[in-house]
Amino acid sequence: MSSVNLKDVNKYYYSAGQLVHAVQNLNMCIADGEFVAIVGPSGCGKSSTMRMIAGLEGITSGTLEFDGKVVNHLPASERNVALSFESYALYQHMTVRENIAFCLKMKKLKDEEIKKKTDWIISLLGIEAICDYKPSNLSGGQSQLVSLARALVRQPAVTLLDEPISHLDRGARQDVSMKIRELHNNLGLTMIYVTHNQEEAFALADRIAVMDGGRLLQIGRREEILDDPRDMFVAEFVGEPSMNFIHCNVTHDNGEIRLISKNKPMITLPFNGDPAVLISKEIKEVTVGVRPIDCHLNKQSDSIQLSGEVHLYEHLGENAIVRVCVGDYSIAVDIDPSIKVAIGEKVTLGFNSNRLYYFDSASGKSINHLDD
């Protein structure tokens, strides 16, 4: 296993006569045995990053190190990186076992060695029953496991997974993701997982890297990303439905800072951060964010209470989403489905002031991270 270190990595492409800066000054350090997910919308540079690590794309500038050694110049075949794609790319004319053994054969290992290793990975993934099947007889989930087995049988230094479960149906998805997790736990693999689906990233990885427009916006443990998003994009990207935002003007009232909403109704919100930051940076407008899960209906203990009308109610099984119209604002609330409200019902929407997030409206950056 290896650590992976990207230093000031840039990637430019020529596309339709235009120079595209696909990855911009990327710095990322992935420790040995870590499980990191790279998420972002399409075109954010996550796949380019993965392909550069695998050696399928050149690096325009910057360095890529495995275990402290620069590998920029090494071709894909010499990097000992395993790749498992969304499309499994299995050899259709070979059985599952032959598919898995194939790359070992190419490495000219002895037959008994090949058998030993193949048996080991097959039992590890629990796919003994399908060993002699051809790929055309496998379900989507099974094909993905075989593709994974083939990638891992070489005991790679780094394993890259490109949307391995996003197109599987729900049952298979749960099964494959559990296997991936167990493998990671048992083998201590360094794994990098690329996906556009934040839900999958948060399901599996220890740390999450959020990218947008070729730039790394934030990397951190899952809780860090959720509790302390560095900017509005990250805050909005994680969680479903997205964070509610209220754009406010900053007012100074006898030395106390108050935030007053720009749209109707006039909502006055407290500012819990350091007032000196707002003053020194001359920030005139602040966007306040509150997560749907931190909003409640008709709860007395909430420090901020707004009256509104239910505009929409979605019962989703495990939870229910309510949209409440408060003047010009439509605020999403994520509540227990046992709480029933009718459309058109007048409700009190509340949240606690200690659950608010503050962003500089101009730059979109979190007030806590203006200097990052």
Binding site: Q174, M178, Q198, E199, A203, H315, G317, E318
Partner: protein, 373 residues
């Protein structure tokens, strides 16, 4: 409320592959009716039968109490939108919509009004002069939907209109669909999906198809809270319902296996179900959100010591993945999202007040009359 569409004893096969077997149901006037089920279960086939794009092998279909079983598609007043809609790339949004109406010889000023009404409803009125390639994925999807909705009809058939969108966009559009739904209030909509959250959020009633038959047809909440069998319980809920295979000890008033020993004497409802049950083993289903757990050994009985093997975070809730001593995996939903380390010991037991019992052979819910054979 009168019935708009009615299926009576419908059979349909494609070659030797039977898709529908003796299917009976009726869709009410102005209902938002969701057809839900796993892939290739015959959801789209039902839509095509209503539209007249396929014909039944046996049985009959009624629309407005009139037998349309053999009526050609063109004569049925039905509008259908397919899963992968097509837009003309060289035509603007306006032309893409207006073209549908021109083909049906609608008057010019009427076309203008209908196009504007539809695009306003879908929130794409400002893009009327754009070409499809100048639109985002979600906007294109709305235009495609507009092509189906622009012609006034009493019945709209929508085949997975949100399926090809990425997760974030799909959730957004699902929410917007609620608004569209209220505008379409005086039309009957049949909506096909394989996503249970869509089915639950949108459907007035949901028809769950499974293995050629209708497994359950009811209000979405009823299906979630009282699934008729294990297959339905599995389809509704994420993560999936956990199932334990337990031995029945009627005399001792308990259900047990190597990991659990659960007292059911005092649980009135489950106790009654077991009392009327003849077999020696039973399946207990308990949704991930209904488990009791602790990281220290509880004083109470019935908890099983297990190992945490993973921790997922999903929308600010945690999912603890647990491995039982016998190797079975379970998922447990918590309101906290601070990580639990793999390898941690956890003591768990299902909350029997929120559990279901299923017949070990038929997999029917004992509370709804399973286990009687």
């Amino acid at each position: 409320m009168s019935n708009k569409i009615e299926f009576k004893g419908v059979h349909k096969s494609f070659g030797s592959n039977q898709v529908l077997e003796d299917v009976n149901f009726s869709i009410r006037q102005n209902e938002f009716f969701v057809l839900f089920g796993p892939s290739s279960v015959g959801k789209s086939t039902i839509l095509k039968l209503i539209a007249g794009l396929e014909y039944v092998d046996d049985g009959s279909i009624l629309i407005d109490d009139q037998d349309v079983t053999t009526m050609p598609a063109g004569k049925r007043n039905v509008r259908m939108a397919f899963e992968n809609f097509v837009l003309y790339p060289h035509m603007t949004v306006y032309e893409n919509l207006a073209g549908v109406l021109r083909n049906s010889k609608v008057k010019r000023h009427e076309i203008d009004r209908l196009v504007h009404d539809t695009t306003r409803m879908l929130g794409i009125e400002q893009y009327l002069n754009r070409l499809p390639r100048q639109l985002s994925g979600g906007q294109k999807q709305r235009v495609s939907l507009g092509r189906a909705l622009v012609m006034k009809s009493e019945i709209y058939l929508l085949d997975e209109p949100l399926a090809h969108l990425d997760a974030k966009l799909r959730n957004e559009l699902r929410t917007e669909f609620q608004d569209i739904k209220s505008v379409l209030g005086n039309a009957t909509v049949v909506y096909v999906t394989h996503d249970y959250t869509e089915a639950m959020a949108l459907g007035d009633r949901v028809c769950v198809l499974y293995d050629k038959h209708i497994a359950q047809l009811d209000k979405p909440e009823v299906i979630y809270n009282r699934p008729v069998n294990l297959a339905v319980a599995r389809m509704f809920g994420q993560p999936e319902i956990n199932v334990l295979r337990l031995n029945v000890d009627k005399a001792g008033g308990r259900l047990y296996n190597d990991s659990f020993s659960l007292e059911i004497n005092d649980k009135k409802s489950l106790g009654e179900q077991i009392y009327n049950y003849e077999k020696n083993t039973v399946l207990l289903g308990c949704r991930p959100r209904n488990w009791l757990f602790s990281f220290t050994q509880p004083a109470e009985d019935g908890y099983c010591e297990a190992e945490v093997i993973g921790f997922e975070i999903r929308n600010f809730r945690g999912i603890i993945i647990v491995k039982l001593p016998d190797g079975q995996f379970l998922s447990i939903l918590t309101e906290q999202y601070s990580s639990v380390k793999a390898g941690t010991k956890i003591y768990i037991k299902p909350d029997l007040n929120h559990s279901y019992l299923f017949d070990v052979e038929t997999e029917e819910n004992l509370a709804i009359g399973g286990g009687k054979n």
